[in-house]
Each structure stands twice: as structure tokens, then as C-alpha cells.
């Protein structure tokens, strides 16, 4: 042990203290404490958007009911083909992805999954991505009464087509605008998922919280690139992609720490969580819950 840490004395088992089985500890958390529809999870560990499909794909492989919640793959107003191949590249302790929001569109998602989701104990949060503020609001309204939908997460790491391609999540005004529009369109709990590719995450977090977000989740992926040296061109068909996995954890922890000190709404931390220890880092940084993304692929 490095001597910079004083040794922690091993405390003897306190005789007489009740032995609590893990099950008896209440880990539940309400991620929308100011919303009458609330968003109560039995435990604070969620599956992150884009890494868990619509929940059904992993249903046979792992016990999805043990999760606090599932966040769906990003859904758009209309069907999307997504980005050209290749779409993923491994990087040191991380990966790049440019899936390009391939999805069947919100109508198809609403036709297919709510009946399944509403039979599950585990709440499902639908992740939305839009080209315009209006699209976000329209989709939020469509979800408002859907059965089996416990909340909405807004992916604002996408360009605003109506505003010259500026990313919603990179500008406090745009981010607030889309949050307010969605807030007005639904009474469902609304989580706004922040992008880390900004100079000042705190200003954006404040703007979004003030605009009515019930909770914030952070971080989405860092914009990155890998080049195939043999073929002398970018690995990804989309040229750039989003960096995720353990590599980004220090950036994510820092942002959660900064934002937690600045806003009053619950924070869902994510970015590189691959172990209980990693999750605890986020809780200590100020998160009320965590999401696990890339690490789902790595164990």
C-alpha cells in the first residue's frame, strides 16, 4: 500500500449489530422527485441507451428485471437507416461508435414494444433524438400516454437541422428550448442527457434544469476518430464517432461532480462504468443513479 494512504484499521465485526442481507437494503431512488408521475427505480443502476436495444434482446441472456431501469435505443420521428459501415472501432480501454441512430421510427417502436414493456417490472425509459425542437415535442406527446413507458430521456447530442446543424446540447439556449418544449408536451418524467463535447457543461446543465428537466444524465459520448493506418483512412464509415467505455470515465466523473454542485435535480452518471467501484465513484461525485453502457459488451 502506498504510504500516502493511512492504513485503514480493520474494524472487528461489531457483535450484536443486525446482519442485513443485501435484499433488505432499500436501494430505491426517485429520479423525478418534483414530478407527480415520479420515476421510482428499485435500484439505481440503469442500462444505457444504445447498448441495450429495446430491452428484449438481452431478456434471455441476463436477468433484466434486476436492473433499476432500461433506457431504450435512441428513437427518432421517422425511421433511420443509420450511418454507413463500419460503425464501431475498438480504442484503448474504449470504443468508438457511429451507429447513426438506426431505428424503425417512433410509430413502429410504439406499435411493437409497449405491450412487452408494460408486462415487465423494470421501468423503461425511451431515449429520443430529433432534428428539430418540434420533432422532440411531437415524440414526447406521442409517448405521454403510452403504456409501459416510465419516462423520456432526451439525446441532445444531435444537430439541430433548423439551426444550421448546431448541436442542441452544445448551446445553453437551444438545450433549454428543447427541454421546455418537451416539458410542455408531456407530464412524463423528462431526463436530459448532456453531451460532454462542450466548454462549459455547468451552464448547459443549469439552463436545462431551469427549463424543467426532472433529471439530467451525463455523459453521452466524446467525439473521436480512429484511422486505419493500413488503409490510410478513417475506420468508421461516418469518419468520426462517439467514444465510450472506461477510457472516458475520468471526464464523466469530473462533469458529474461539477454539475452536481450546480443543480438541484437528480443526476444520473454514466461514462465508462465497468465495476461497482466505478459506480461508487459516480455516487461520490454526486450522482443519484448510474447507467452502464459499453461495459455491457465487455463482460
Amino acid at each position: 500500500m502506498s504510504q500516502t494512504t493511512a492504513p485503514t484499521p480493520q474494524s472487528p465485526p461489531a457483535s450484536g449489530s443486525p446482519v442485513r442481507s443485501p435484499q433488505s437494503i432499500d436501494l430505491s431512488v426517485d429520479l423525478a422527485p418534483h414530478n407527480p408521475r415520479e420515476l421510482v427505480l428499485r435500484n439505481p443502476v440503469l442500462a444505457a441507451s444504445g447498448t441495450f436495444g429495446y430491452g428484449v434482446e438481452y431478456a434471455g441472456l441476463i436477468d433484466i428485471q434486476a436492473l433499476g431501469a432500461i433506457v431504450s435505443k435512441g428513437v427518432t420521428r421517422r425511421q433511420r437507416r443509420g450511418a454507413p459501415m463500419p460503425r464501431i472501432a475498438e480504442t484503448p480501454a474504449g470504443m468508438l461508435n457511429a451507429i447513426g441512430l438506426q431505428n424503425p421510427g417512433i410509430r413502429a417502436v410504439l406499435d411493437k414494444y409497449p405491450p412487452i414493456w408494460s408486462r415487465w417490472d423494470v421501468p423503461v425509459i425511451v431515449n429520443l433524438a430529433g432534428d428539430t425542437v418540434g420533432e422532440f415535442a411531437e415524440m414526447a406527446a406521442m409517448l405521454d400516454e403510452a403504456t409501459g413507458v416510465a419516462g423520456i430521456e432526451l439525446n441532445v447530442s444531435c444537430p439541430n437541422v433548423a439551426a444550421g446543424g448546431m448541436f442542441f446540447g452544445c448551446d445553453p439556449g437551444l438545450a433549454a428550448e428543447v427541454t421546455a418544449a418537451v416539458r410542455a408536451a408531456t407530464t412524463l418524467p423528462v431526463i436530459v442527457k448532456l453531451t460532454p463535447n462542450v466548454t462549459d457543461i455547468v451552464t448547459i446543465a443549469r439552463a436545462v434544469a431551469d427549463a424543467g428537466a426532472d433529471a439530467l444524465s451525463l455523459i453521452n459520448t466524446l467525439l473521436g476518430m480512429a484511422i486505419d493506418v493500413r488503409r490510410r483512412r478513417p475506420v468508421l464509415g461516418n469518419l468520426t464517432g462517439g467514444l465510450s467505455g472506461p477510457a472516458v470515465k475520468p471526464v464523466a466523473v469530473r462533469m458529474v461532480y461539477q454539475v452536481a454542485a450546480a443543480v438541484d435535480v437528480p443526476i444520473i452518471g454514466l461514462g465508462g462504468i465497468a465495476s461497482l467501484n466505478d459506480a461508487l465513484e459516480f455516487f461520490l461525485a454526486g450522482a443519484s443513479a448510474v447507467q452502464v453502457g459499453t461495459a455491457t459488451f465487455a463482460d
Binding site: T51, Y58, L61, K73, P86, R87, A93, I99, T294, F297
Partner: protein, 266 residues
């Protein structure tokens, strides 16, 4: 149904330069359900880099011999890369995280009597499994095996004895001097199923050969295995899609084996 399990390393045999046949102990329930063409995702670097599991085709799945025993999975693994280099140095008892069996493998219909297999590269692994399954059903098997040079060929001792094996090398150092697809013509009249595991240009050549076919028979159905870099291996990340006549499909779940006529190849 795939399972997540910890596989115990049994042994590895250098079958080719930089390629080893690795044997892993696996739960009986896994080994019992593998179909040829399916794969596993295998991990196990120490630390967090490399991070992702790698897909490896299953060369042979041996069922447990008695109740309570484990099954065995054999993989033909390239050991020169970052992902599995360590497999060649593993020791008996080392364990690795595995998910599998995954994907949709080859299917040989009830009435198939003669199958033509076309293998180039590590795809020979999956086709050994398929050849053995076919022979067990008394289906006649011919394998066209291609490689750049004789040295890059899996030694024929690893192939089932009862299969007819025809070799092609790009440099002519063994068998036919050229591509496996040069050898097709004679077999299009013979086979009532064709299954291939090779780089995509081979599939394009195969498709062209089928188009050129002027014989009398209905052409046999062709199944080919596709590869894409993978992250999840179970169909959630949409990282591994290929274009088909029915839209984008995942290699890891809808594939890796697809009917050739459904694929939109470059």
C-alpha cells in the same frame, strides 16, 4: 439460447503459423446446442484493454460425455492480434469470459444429399463443423479450400477423412494455381447445397459463377458467412449490419450466415 459463462482453457495447438486450435471447457448445455456457423464472443485480456470480446467461429463442439460433465468448444484462433494473442500463452486452468453460442448458422435441409463447402481463411473452422455434421447425416461433402500459399493452409489432417478436399493456392504452391472459385464449375451440377466461409470477393465471384451457369439443373441454394467488427454480439448495438434485400440485418444475430441471394454485396 446463448449463455454467458466462464470457459476454462484446456489446451492450444499451433495449427498454422499464428493460428491455434484452442480448446475450452464449456457448460454441457452450451456445447449441446451449437449449430455449425455459430460463434462465441470471447474475452480475457487482463485489465481494461483490449476492452471488447472478440467473435470466433466454433470449429467443433463436443458434447459432454456423461451427466455432470462439461462440453468442449474448439476454436481456430488467429493469435497474432491484440485480442487473442494471449490465448496462445494461456495455461490449463486459465479462464476466459465467453458468451455463446451466438448467431444463425448454416442449415442443411432434409433433402440435401451433396454439399459443396468453400473455405478461405479462418472460415475453415466453421466449415469443419459443418462437414462433420453433414457426414454424420450421410451427406456427401466436397470442400474447396483456398489460401494464399500452401503454408497458410490448415493441415488436411484436421479435416474429416470422408470429405473430398480440393485445394487452391494463389501462388500455386499447392493444388490449383488460382482461386477456389475457378473450381466451381464442375460442382454446380453436383451439389444440392453450397455453403461458403470466405472473404467477400469470393462471394462476388461465386455469385458471378452462378449467373454464368448454363446447365440444366436448378441452382443449389448458397449460404455464406459474413464478418463485421462486433461490439455486443447479440444484436443490440447495431454495429455489425449488412445490407440485404430485406434491409439492414445484424451479422451477429440475423447472421453470420445469410442466403447469398439476400445479400447486397459491394
Amino acid at each position: 439460447m446463448p449463455q454467458q459463462f466462464t470457459a476454462r482453457f484446456l489446451d492450444a495447438e499451433e495449427a498454422l503459423p499464428a493460428n491455434a486450435i484452442v480448446r475450452l471447457a464449456a457448460p454441457a448445455a452450451v456445447a449441446a446446442v451449437v449449430t455449425p456457423g455459430q460463434f462465441v464472443m470471447l474475452g480475457g485480456g487482463q485489465g481494461l484493454d483490449p476492452l471488447l470480446l472478440r467473435p470466433y467461429g466454433i470449429m467443433r463442439a463436443t458434447r459432454a460425455t456423461h451427466a455432470g460433465a462439461e462440453g468442449v468448444l474448439e476454436l481456430l484462433v488467429f493469435t497474432g492480434g491484440r485480442g487473442a494473442g494471449w490465448l496462445a500463452h494461456a495455461r490449463e486452468g486459465d479462464t476466459f469470459p465467453v458468451v455463446g453460442p451466438l448467431g444463425t448458422g448454416y442449415e442443411l435441409g432434409e433433402r440435401v444429399r451433396r454439399v459443396l463447402l468453400i473455405a478461405v481463411g479462418h472460415g475453415i473452422g466453421a466449415l469443419v463443423a459443418l462437414a462433420e455434421a453433414a457426414l454424420a447425416r450421410d451427406i456427401a461433402v466436397t470442400m474447396l479450400v483456398g489460401a494464399p500459399t500452401a503454408a497458410a493452409l490448415l493441415p488436411l489432417t484436421y479435416l474429416p477423412e470422408d470429405a473430398e478436399v480440393i485445394v487452391a493456392t494463389s501462388d500455386g504452391s499447392r493444388g490449383h494455381h488460382g482461386s477456389v472459385t475457378d473450381l466451381l464449375d464442375g460442382y454446380l451440377d453436383w451439389a444440392d447445397a453450397i455453403c461458403a466461409y470466405a472473404p467477400e470477393p469470393v462471394y462476388v465471384a461465386l455469385r458471378e459463377a452462378l449467373h454464368r451457369y448454363r446447365g440444366a439443373r436448378t441452382l443449389p441454394p448458397v449460404q455464406v458467412a459474413m464478418e463485421r467488427s462486433m461490439a455486443c454480439g447479440v444484436g443490440v448495438c447495431l454495429g455489425c449490419v449488412v445490407e440485404t434485400t430485406a434491409g439492414l440485418k445484424t451479422v451477429c444475430r440475423d447472421g453470420p450466415v445469410f442466403p447469398l441471394d439476400r445479400l447486397v454485396l459491394a
